[in-house]
Symmetry: C2
Subunit: 765 residues, 2 copies
């Protein structure tokens, strides 16, 4: 335990609890942020959180706006809570999970959640925003059953504590059919056993975004059940000779696709549940329960969860902010970077692999939930810098995924032993290359990663990749979003080349350096934009560079995506007609006025997520503000990032302009606020920008301490006048990973106007 005491400028001492005090998990829980407010620990396998609605929908699985709205199960503006479930994505734009719902109640049993409009007709309850929402702890008062609910977790066990204020007997609904994105047919099978009057076990198996997903559980009760009911609401379950008995009342075993239970506790005013999950087996869940939460005791688990957060935040030895809001936003962003990917293995190291077989994680911790199209940009580089062991373990988890993949591919977007194939590219190679090039000391045998990357990049079935290999671009008539794919493949190929170079695999490096140039094949000099090309080599005719739908792009338009060459800024600048033209183009991106129609057709981002035509609420633009660093006008990076930090991150439930995307939006915030950003992961170089923090003292895993200091930093003084590292002038707006890791003082002198000579030369990549 390494907690220091420092004077904190505006509120109080930066105390033992570090950033913990200023984390506000409600940020992002309204509208598009898609974060969840419930209890979890760093990288916790359990995300125990209230769900405010479930949107069942028809069997065809078509994508519906309300389903999108409930990616995290919770919307702050809602006035009812359906119940508390144990698994949630943080900030995603597609949905799943929401497993094993518990809801306290009194009075007659209501088996269905009911609707927000008529909560009294279901097991849900009205609540008012008297929630207590902290890292590792969530509490709320449920008005209808008059119940105080408190939640905390260990790594693999959700701990619930319920206090009943009513005199009516207490009961709980255990709804195994509840889930997020809960279309008809999602629940494949459920199984429940009442092992004894204080222990339930079972599992729940779903189809869906995770095509073949099973969650095993073991639930320990603090007081014995008085009685219970188990019902199967799926009429197609074959009942056979089970019909001979009353299998609904106090019958200790149930199975079926539509299983729910009601648990009765007579004369009990307080009930605690310890709900252990496992992806492996019921035995795994029991082992997790016995290891992590063997006894009743909510307070001790809550305390332990809070200590875990303090320990995770202890990277930040001290920090000063210009404004109070920044303390909250910064701390919450840091919190959100630590709950995107989660541990996915039992305490004994066993986990379910992509091949649906049980593996043992030997020498690493297995993680799941890799939203790689998002997180390769800043989230994984953030972890690689501050949590290199965890990042290396995630990379090892990706490598194991590759070993288990019958498609011989690294993960694209994977969760809970499933590849869900969401979004494009093969950005696991970026995460690997970034860690290899930055020499993450926890990586084992990185030549394996190169082989996995090379295999992944040659799977012809995948999203136009065959044509890309043959033609040097993805033809739009063969595979939609072809420009986005071409550009991202080219970047990923550069990452593989970087990794190959670092590992002295020269022929592979050459091969992928060549592929990395493929971005040029979709540049249309006549329009000045990247533009969809057809198999016959001509550009597609109809072309609106503002359109984000069906025009060769995904989650972006030609304006945004034309800047998607993070690995060759010099080449792109040349392609676009030289620096002057490039800067003008870049300026107009931030300054243009968009028509209203644009927003109507754009799903993932709110008007608040847009600055000009720069879309911060979606990821493809995240590196764009830093492009000025590669021109003679790096001060525009500084003003842009400061503007984005102010406009796109607000201290409110609707404070995020787009999905947090498993921490990517938050990691962007943190890098920009600290004054440097990984423009092209796979390079060891960061772009410098104007820090938002007044100062920060960061301790790296290697024991070195970096002191970020600013002079004259303020709301107005947003321009860098000079940067020194340990007294040495940095004459280019870049800093390397190694320079950061060596620690010392990184001093930014700030001023109200661009210092055109702050950097004497602009180094090219």
């Amino acid at each position: 335990m390494r907690f220091y005491f420092w004077i904190f400028c505006f509120v109080s001492a930066y105390g033992q609890s570090g950033l913990t005090e200023w984390v506000r998990p409600l940020i992002g829980t309204q509208d598009a942020g898609h974060t969840f407010p419930g209890a979890t620990v760093p990288f916790g396998a359990i995300q125990l959180s209230p769900d405010t609605d479930t949107i069942p929908f028809s069997v065809n699985g078509s994508y519906q706006p309300n389903v999108y709205r409930y990616c995290a199960g919770y919307q702050y503006a809602d006035s009812t809570i359906v119940g508390f479930s144990h698994t949630h994505f943080s900030g995603t734009g597609h949905s799943d999970l929401g497993d094993i719902l518990l809801m306290p109640n009194i009075g007659a049993i209501q088996w269905n959640p009911g609707t927000a409009a008529q909560p009294q007709k279901g097991y849900r309850s009205v609540y008012h925003h008297n929630e207590v929402v902290q890292p590792g702890y969530y509490a709320v008062y449920l008005d209808e059953p008059k119940v105080q609910a408190e939640l905390t977790t260990t790594q693999r066990v959700g701990i619930h504590k319920y206090r009943f204020d009513s005199q009516e007997p207490a009961h709980f609904i255990l709804d195994l059919t509840h889930g997020i994105y809960n279309y008809e047919g999602k629940n494949v099978w459920c199984y429940l056993r009442v092992e004894n009057d204080t222990l339930l076990t079972g599992y729940k198996q779903t189809n869906g975004w995770g095509r073949t997903r099973t969650v095993y559980f073991a639930i320990a009760l603090s007081v014995p059940l008085s009685s219970y009911q188990i019902k199967d609401f799926k009429p197609s379950t074959y009942k056979g000779f089970w019909r001979k008995f009353d299998t609904e009342n106090n019958f200790p075993e149930g199975a079926g696709a539509g299983l729910k239970a009601a648990l009765f506790f007579e004369n009990q005013k307080e009930v605690e549940f310890r709900v252990a999950l496992s992806g492996v087996s019921i035995d795994g869940a029991l082992l997790n329960l016995q290891t992590e939460a063997p006894v009743v005791g909510f307070e001790q688990y809550k305390h332990a969860a809070q200590l875990q957060w303090q320990r995770a935040f202890s990277v930040v030895k001290d920090i000063e902010f210009l404004r109070l809001n920044d303390a909250y936003n910064f701390s919450t962003a840091w919190y959100h970077t630590l709950i995107g990917s989660t541990i996915y293995m039992d305490v004994d190291g066993r986990y379910r692999g992509l091949d649906q077989r049980i593996h043992i994680a030997e020498g690493f911790t297995n993680y799941t939930t890799f939203s790689l199209w998002d997180t390769y940009r800043a989230e994984q580089p953030f972890l690689n810098l501050f949590y290199p062991k965890e990042n290396a373990d995630m990379i090892e988890s990706m490598q194991q995924h590759f070993m288990q993949s019958t498609q011989h591919m690294l993960p694209i977007w994977s969760h809970y032993a499933n590849e869900n194939w969401c979004m494009i590219g093969y950005h696991a190679v970026s995460v690997m290359a970034d860690a290899v090039v930055k020499e993450n000391p926890y990586l084992k045998d990185p030549s394996r990663f190169l082989r996995a990357a090379n295999s992944t990049a040659n799977q012809r079935f995948y999203e136009g990749l065959g044509a890309y290999i043959d033609l040097g671009y993805v033809p739009e008539d063969q595979s939609g979003s072809s420009v986005s794919k071409t550009l991202e493949y080219a970047y990923d190929d550069w990452c593989i080349a970087q990794m190959a170079s670092h590992l002295k695999a020269d022929s592979l490096a050459l091969e992928y350096q060549k592929r990395a140039k493929n971005y040029r094949n979709v540049f249309d000099a006549s329009s000045g934009f990247m533009r969809p090309k057809l198999t016959n080599g001509t550009f597609k005719n109809a072309f609106d560079p503002l359109d984000t739908h069906g025009q060769g792009f995904i989650e972006g338009n030609a304006w945004n995506y034309s800047f998607y060459v993070p690995h060759d800024p010099k080449g792109l600048i040349e392609l676009m007609g030289g620096e002057a033209k490039f800067i003008a183009h870049l300026d107009s991106l931030f300054e243009m006025q968009l028509p209203d129609a644009y927003f109507a057709q754009t799903e993932d981002i709110m008007r608040e997520g847009i600055i000009g035509n720069y879309v911060h609420g979606n990821e493809p633009s995240h590196h764009i503000p830093f492009f000025y660093n590669f021109t003679a006008q790096p001060w525009k990076t500084q003003s842009s990032t400061r503007m984005i930090l102010d406009k796109q991150y607000k201290l409110e439930s609707a404070g995020m302009g787009g999905n947090d995307d498993c921490g990517q939006m938050s990691a962007w915030y943190l890098f920009a606020a600290l004054g440097f950003y990984p423009f092209a992961p796979g390079s060891s170089q960061y772009c410098l920008t104007a820090p938002l923090v007044k100062s920060a003292i960061l301790e790296f895993d290697n024991g070195q301490v970096l002191r970020i200091q600013t002079v004259n930093n303020s709301d107005k003084n947003i321009y860098i006048q000079q940067v020194t590292l340990n007294g040495r002038l940095l004459n280019q707006p870049f800093i390397t990973h190694r320079e950061l890791l060596e620690g010392g003082e990184l001093l930014f002198k700030m001023g109200p106007k661009p210092a055109k000579k702050a950097f004497v030369s602009v180094k090219q990549f």
Copy 2:
């Protein structure tokens, strides 16, 4: 290996292959026998057999005659074969299994089996009865694809060999949705991976009679796949982003409730499959494959399977029959006693328990498929006598089931990690008591069995058992089939008492001796029959002792069931008014003429299964012919059993008058044919009767050899004149288990007329 050579009277030497030569697995495959003709080894986990039809039916799971017809997947009278699947019950009256179907084909892919009327419209094929059907081997020529199919197995691996005579390219349908009793919704989930071009893995999960059942598989191919297709025919499977690719053509992974695959082999005239199954996991299936069938080689596996049968049959050192037919019937019956229960664990001892968790069988072999209402009568006693180790392992498997049961009960009718609750009673206690009383040397700590039995017999939720405990009988107004239940509970309770006495648990013995008398509570002296009683203590008014439906009985009527007191024949004789009345009653059972209407309403038995009103095709009467031994007219037992052996067991596909019921019908045959029968399992005494065999030399597991010899035995000389054991006159028509096990010569002198003084006294139980 202990094979001797003996002169075999009428055909050839009783050779190295023992009974194997005379086994005709087709016996029972037509109409009600419900045996399967395919390949298996003794107690084999794989039963690789042709299915001649599948009867999908509607979602409500209602019981349909055609489903009953296809309990074993095969009906000899059918002219088409749908394909070859790997799991089959032998002789049951309810259905499940039929997992993992393979079918060779040529020409265009047909994804559905089609109908028997139009086989060319499906993947099924016409065949003519050119089958070769032997223990461990099955071959058939499929007319439409012109394919010679051969099947054999190891314990856990099915081996297929297909020779294509057509010049068209070969393909196979791998239909994971195929199954027996395959109602809509039975297939819960399927998963298939093409690991490489010679290895497929996956699993199939079903609802149904086995409520929660998963079969994992690993399939090795002798030649590489040229190409393949995988399709999901269940439209409700959510496809998510898998839609982005062609996941049907050569895509190496599929999942969904409706999965089928087509496997193509270009220019291959011969293909072998090795299909390993596991109830544990894909890894388990791979381990079974690698251990039991690591290489291609049909002939070697076939030879090994045949050797396993020879070894199993080597109990019979020599045997002589009166008639050639008897050799076939006897050998086939012996064969059928060894394929009812099957091994259910991987080669490493891991198996799925009733609690759906993975267990390790320590010190025993785990078995499944316990059709206990049938098999406790003769099948398990047969195994206990000749295969005591296997019987002890089955008992241990039942004990482990109890340990895993959240209902705290021994198995009723269990299969593949499921309790299916079929039929009545709790006859596992009989199997246990029989083995305990007969001092099976392989039992471990039998006091555990007594505790399990006592727990089982006190589960009030079960089938009127609460009322039975309170009132001494099951009231018909509380639980149907109440008389059958009362009588069987009383017998089972006597079994528990026997076990308790043997284990010196005196108070339990007393308690259950008392419960064993409960049969008296449903005897109606006024009608002379056992009769349904109501909660208020009066007999139910409407009462037809011939009716088998809704009259307090199950699979029998008051005529048959009134004799169901195997544990207290003296008591029953007294209750029925003394010996003279009892004998008259018994005589009329065998001699009465039944109305045609009787057969119309009786599901399980054919007219051929009836002798008078004695129903041999159902089990409740199986002990009745031996009741004469408890009277002064034991010769009627002798004539009855000889008549039943002749009438009920025929050398033809429709040769069984009722379901073989996992070997029960066959075990009855064997005991009766050898001249002794376990009238009341739980007692160590057998009833003597006229042997059908001319002589037999049997070697017990303890090394002792019993020589059964007859003098003057013939079709006409069916009456015992005298029996001696090692020269000592047996003056009662009984012999004990210990006497048998000590070996020596059991000599029956036979004659054409009853020898009224063959037994000088009739010993009471």
